[in-house]
Amino acid sequence: MKLTRRNKQIFSSYAFLSVPIIWWGMFFLVPFFMALFFSFTNLKISMDAITKTGFFQYKSVLTDADFWSAMRTTVIWTVAMMIGNNLFGVLMAILLVRLSKGRRIFLALLFWPTLVSAVVGSEITKTVFSADATGLVNMLIGLFGAKPVAWFEREGYALFSLMVMPFLFGFSIKMIIYYTSVMSIPSSYFEAARLETGSYSKIVRHITLPLIKNAFVLNILLSLIDGLKVLGPMQLITKGANGTQSSILYIYDYAFGTSSNMGKAAAAAFIVFAFILLASVGQLLISGKGSETYE
């Protein structure tokens, strides 16, 4: 049978696609369905002693106060990071665009925090918020006569202490997206706007921000997903104590703690997955309408 030119194209497309699809299937789809399967079982460590439990694990998660506490922590983290990272990201992008000299240097410097690994970042956070009088924050408050505070050991302070550094320095990737988005706005828009007004803030409000709406939608979606799957700071610094357990740490503790209650961890994972899916779709539906184009 002789293949037509079009069929050849289709065949070669699928041939190329098959590699990543098989890869994706092996390392995502198979574990996904295995985890789904486990969520209906009592799997602990050994597959030998596994029995079906129906929706027991889901019920166990949904009636667990710790799970809801972890979800609350996760939502607080997500909202704070969404606001902080996007606010600083867009602000830095707009300021960078205004620079006539040294733009790339500042861009590189502001991108730098992204290169710091999570472990190193956590050690920095530990040092900055050390309970010792020599901790940076305690030294600062000491200047005003305040006594050293054990930031990670007090409920209420602990989550705040974990959030400060990522809130202030976690904007780099977002900033790059905003920056490229602002740079791609045709200069004629700004030239026309400048004929109308000399106020830069008005131009930003009426020209720049509306035209980078697509970047906002993308960045907010990325912030949402990043925030809802946060694990590192809690696991590396407080181990979830004092109201800092995130939903992913909750799952991790059940899955890889000594007891390895994989069934419950898998059920929790699917509940969190459903939550992320709903939040992402909801966010896209709300903010994705009426995307701006330059045409």
Partner: protein, 435 residues
Amino acid sequence: MGRLIRILIAAVLSAALFLPAGCDGCGGESRPDDVGDIYTENPSELSGSIKVALPSTGDKREIFNNAIDEYKKTRPNVTVTPEWKTSDEFYLSYKTDISSGSNVFPDAALIDHVYVQGLAGLNLIANVTSVTEHYKELYVDNLIEANALDGRYYAFPFSANTVQLYVNDDIMGGVPVPATYAEFLTAGTAISAANPDKSVFSLSTGVDYKGFGAMLYLSWTARNGGTILSSDMKTALLNGEKSKRTLGQWKQIIDNEWANPSLSNEGNFYLGKVAMLEMGCWSVPTVENAGLNVSIHPLFSLDAGSENNNSVLGLYSMCVTNQSDINKVKIAADFSAFISAYTQIQVDYAKASKCLPVTKEGVADEFFAADKWKPFCDALPGAIRRPGSPEWQFIETEIGNMYMKVVMEQSSIDDAAAYHQNRVQKRLDEYYGGL
């Protein structure tokens, strides 16, 4: 987008409906409940190959290579392939290996004793009682018991450690080293008055110390005459009288301003700023290198009228994977028993890891008979074993969070004990709940 979501929902629902239906005792061929008598009378007749997961940091790799060479001298037909791991704490990777069903697990591995009962309960490691019976007398009393479940042994002790009282004699001045809690209070008052710029004691407080703090908490509660978990490991006892007494004592130390509530004073002890520190034997070289005038003493007792001064036991043990190939089980058990009972290997490994040998001959070695090591060795027979609960990791974290709440004055002793008791009990009930 809408189509993708519909496909995903459909896939999830179909899997939810059908997958569980096919799962009743699934998971492949089950392992034998008990491997029976695996002791080999004449080890030179053993033949085959095994993989052993071993720590590779520091000088340990060389020690294990020498041990394997030594072993092969009397077992010429056996091949032992070490599977080097980067950390001593590779329980998680071992657990994953042996439970994956992929047949890539090591035949033996060195793990923290606190995980032995959990793995034994799940039938993942072999009952090695038939072999330990022949080696039992060689080990320091008490150590083999740390690997027991229902009267059977599931691992060979390999490397131990205990905690003792480090005393900075310069700060102490003429104050006698306390042997009881009452004496500790008297000493603390005197030290504090004479050294206002120094601390009396160190508690394992702060974010990085809760794991070790939980071990010390167990020791304190034992010295108060109690424990934190029932003997069947199904009931938490964190709100018991003895546990709460420990919380009270720790709070008293903080209230007296003898220790820092939010940060361990361990580092300051090595800088000569703290009078007393309860610490493990691994810190002996640190103290020696610091050039301090430090002596090491037994822990002080806490229960009035009792001489109970138990340390807590740290122990790494060699366990044997429970698998269908009985020949490998036999070789793995033989190898594990060999390296755990061979004095030179024991002494060399203990020196390299700054821990203690587990054999009677090992602790009698000249090195461990020295003043700074002897108290740790002497404490081995009476050392308190951490409960081998499958939920130990969770319990340990909860203990850390409980005492931190008390010393940070965020909660009363009763409230903290009740709160964390409930959390641990809930977790234990979940584990032993039958599902």
